[in-house]
Amino acid sequence: MFGCQRLKRTCLASNNGAVMSLNVLCDGRHEHAPWSMTDGVFDTSLEAEYTPMLAKALATTILEAIANEYKLPNVVQYSKKLKLSHFHAIAAAKQPTKSMSMHMVPEYSHVIVLANVPYWMSFHCTNSALAACVYLTCGGQDIFIPCASKLLRKTIKKGGDSRLFKFSVERTPSLKVLADAQPSGDKVAESELQLKCHKESQVCKGERLVLEQTHSDEECADWVFGVRWTPEEFLRQAVLVGHPFSNFSGLPPEVGAACGCCNHDSCGCCKQ
């Protein structure tokens, strides 16, 4: 079920129960290559490596388990573990020396996923960056992909199954989202951030694409783009998120609340 040429069982040992979701048996709806020996090499050695599909399924499963464990919405953003000690250090005005997966200003303002795009439709990229803005129309919906967006992934899917064209746009959060000392009052401003051309003050020759059908059973591809900040937007965003030393208390919630309560004139929680 994970792209092996031959019928083969794989055994995984893990301390994460989430891998049990990979526990599937072959549905028998496809043919397998026979087991044999070719030029003195057993076929078993050809099947020793994890297939790309299995590797991806395993990685996705683990990432989702981590995201679920930490109640984090974006799997890719939080793939590296956030440690409690990171927040303790920040609250004590020290930058952790270990790499943190979350940046103050994230690498991309948005991540755009276009799923099941017919294979004939292509997006022109130079050095993995979209050359011009794309205005895509499909089933009455307009999708805008700014120029300079980075192509993060392109996955080709074979034809045969009827697939519906889908798209999603996700904001990538900054480290400040996790702040507890000064709840960010700028969440509204963040949510209002719009997609726009990377060239801002200059004129970009956009490309218009139209998808007549919302589904297809031909070969298709998933395209994932990371939308770059313009220098101006980045600066605005940097000012908005500020400096992390002011944002974290490093304290358990009840202790933080007790600090605030002991000294808060309007705190009514102690009043009987």
């Binding site: 609250a91 009840e254 004139d265």
Partner: protein, 624 residues
């Protein structure tokens, strides 16, 4: 008014608990009467039904903690989930059945392995400690070895000398008891960082209300921490200890009743209880505490300090937890708090500043150690790693970032590919610098004030044929460009960095752009929080750590660190992707509408800083 509310709330709560404890006394006695004599003795002072009441009524997430304390904690198998600690799975390596199956042979081997530590005085002290624990009811014995049943497990007790005292360690890892434990949670504690954060956060809360930020603090130690909790009856068969008797010169057998120091489950069990006490004080009494195993630290405004002292002690008394009320470990709210080997000086809190430094004892011990090493002139690998750990802890509480570079020299020595014990001149200098920092370094200073935040964006470009470009933009907290520069550097001027036939020096140049910006705009940056955005990950991490494998980058980091320290700048180094970097434009001599001519730094000024920086790097990075 607010303080009165807090005091009234504490009085109400503690009064209610005291009355409840009295009314529950009969039921409490019945619960204890049903316990085996040994467990009853350990838990004699605990008010378990009151604890249960607090958990239920106040809504603590670890619902079964009171029952767990009542029944004692298992030493083997699965540790129950508390729902109050972060999740982390640590699976068992073997089953309890396997442990029992091997125990007979293992016990015999362990009995004959129990020998003198090689120091008669240490052996005597360990034996005396063990006997005194029997007197206190924490263990039973000496027992006959023939009393051991099938599947009973024995662990070895050995002495560990710490600061002139002997701490008995029960090695439950060697006996493989710890290998049978599966934990689903991580036992977290509040280290010095949390204590610092606690004091500054409290000051910030006070300042927000327009009150004085004066603070007093105290530390509190629970007495004989683990020994206040009992082992579950089912685990007593795994609680046997083999202790060397210096009189008979043989191994004697004991059985633990209280939780042992050395058990994996005991750590979690104790942390659950400590976190419960911390939560109860904070949630019910509005009394914030930090918790590091059995060490609690509390800060309070002077007006509430007396009440906090009384409330904290009464809370522990009424719940039946023993703590040091007199002697060296007892404490009262004051301007100086010593905890975890660190000294928190609260005398400047009225100005919003917390000073944190090493305790006098730690300073003296470290100086003696460094003097010995410098006098001897050699340092073995193992000793180097121990020294690095000790100095890294010390250096964390000394103001400034220069110590990190010196610490790196000890690491280099320990991991040198052709290792030699003898100290190199570079290492001697590093040790002397660290000695000086430990002895004379300024305490680490934390401020509760909301310092102004500035933003620095830097970039560099490099072309082997065309030379390099450096650019930087300084931005105000409102997002206005305060100043910027762009500098084109001829390839000949980079000879210092290109030594040894190197083809690219982009890492060095990216780091240099930051150091030069700090030097150029040092006066703008005085006492600010600075967000430095760089588009080179290597440079970013070098600047965070303070060193790199490249000596030139390490020298540039030292240059940057010196400027940051001198001007009390609190930096954070962040990533900026190149296409979003405004500094990319001046580094390539390209114009941008945001970069106005009137805020451009004169070229001569930038060139002068470049020359002086390269001169510094040239001297610092040359082999010694």
């Amino acid at each position: 008014m607010t303080h009165a509310d807090v005091v009234n709330n504490r009085c109400c709560k503690l009064g209610e608990w005291t009355r409840l404890a009295r009314s529950l006394q009969d039921a409490e006695n019945k619960v204890k009467a049903a316990m085996p004599e040994e467990r009853k003795r350990i838990l004699a002072t605990k008010r378990l039904l009151l604890m249960k009441h607090v958990i239920e009524v106040e809504g603590y997430d670890d619902k079964t903690l009171a029952e767990d304390v009542m029944h004692g904690f298992s030493l083997v198998g699965e540790v129950p989930k508390s729902n109050v600690l972060p999740r982390k799975l640590l699976p068992a390596a073997m089953t309890e059945q396997d442990l029992c199956a091997n125990s007979q042979r293992a016990n015999l081997a362990l009995r004959y392995m129990t020998r003198s530590s090689g120091d008669e005085e240490l052996d005597d002290k360990l034996w005396a400690k063990t006997v005194s624990e029997v007197d206190k009811g924490w263990m039973l014995g000496p027992l006959q070895w023939s009393e051991l049943g099938d599947g009973d497990t024995v662990s070895r007790r050995f002495p560990l000398e710490q600061s002139g005292k002997v701490r008995p360690i029960d090695d439950l890892s060697q006996s493989q008891i710890n290998a049978t434990v599966t934990c689903y949670e991580q036992a977290t504690v509040d280290g010095p960082d949390v204590i610092c954060a606690f004091a500054t956060y409290l000051m910030r809360c006070l300042a927000d209300q327009g009150r004085s930020t004066e603070l007093l603090g105290r530390s509190l130690d629970l007495a004989s921490a683990y020994r206040q909790l009992a082992i579950a009856d089912g685990s007593r068969r795994h609680a046997f200890l083999s202790v060397y008797n210096p009189s008979s010169k043989s191994a004697e057998l004991f059985q633990q009743v209280a939780l042992p120091f050395g058990s994996r489950t005991a750590v979690n069990a104790f942390i659950w209880c400590a976190r419960f006490l911390q939560w109860t004080a904070a949630k019910c009494l509005k009394l914030p505490l930090s918790c590091y195993f059995d060490d609690f630290v509390s800060f309070s405004s002077p007006a509430l300090a007396g009440n906090s002292q009384a409330a904290l002690c009464l809370m522990l008394d009424v719940l039946g937890w023993g703590f040091d009320k007199e002697g060296p470990k007892s404490d009262e709210f004051s301007l100086l708090v010593c905890a975890l080997g660190v000294q928190f000086d609260l005398s400047s809190c009225k100005d919003g500043l917390l000073r944190v430094c090493n305790t006098e004892k730690r300073v003296q011990d470290t100086i003696v150690l460094l003097d010995e090493i410098l006098a001897k002139g050699d340092l073995k690998k193992r000793d180097a790693l121990v020294l690095r750990g000790r100095l890294a802890f010390c250096d964390a509480f000394i103001f400034g970032r220069l110590g990190k570079v010196a610490l790196q020299e000890i690491t280099r020595h320990a991991y040198a590919s052709s290792f030699s014990d003898s100290l190199s001149n570079v290492l001697k200098d590093a040790l002397k610098l660290l000695r000086d920092r430990v002895l004379r370094g300024k305490p680490r200073l934390l401020s509760c004030k909301m310092l102004e935040t500035l933003f620095l964006l830097t970039d560099a470009s490099f072309d082997p044929s065309d030379g390099a470009g450096l650019g930087a933009v300084l931005v105000s907290s409102q997002g206005q460009v305060l100043a910027w520069f762009g500098l084109k550097v001829e390839i000949e001027k980079l000879s210092t960095l290109l030594d040894g036939g190197r083809e690219t020096v982009i890492g060095e140049l990216e780091t240099l752009a930051v150091a030069m910006s700090l030097l150029l705009w040092a006066d703008h940056l005085d006492s600010t929080q600075l967000m430095v955005y760089i588009d080179n990950e290597g440079s970013k991490f070098s600047l965070i750590k303070g060193y790199s494998v490249s000596r030139a980058i390490t020298a540039i980091c030292a240059l940057a660190a010196t400027t940051l320290d001198e001007h009390y700048v609190l930096p954070w180094f962040g990533r900026i992707p190149s296409p979003s970097n405004l500094a990319d434009f001046p580094s390539r001599q390209i114009k941008h509408p945001l970069l106005k001519h009137n805020v451009e730094v004169p070229k001569e000024e930038v060139e002068a800083v470049f020359e002086s920086s390269m001169s510094f790097v040239s001297k610092a990075a040359s082999p010694q």
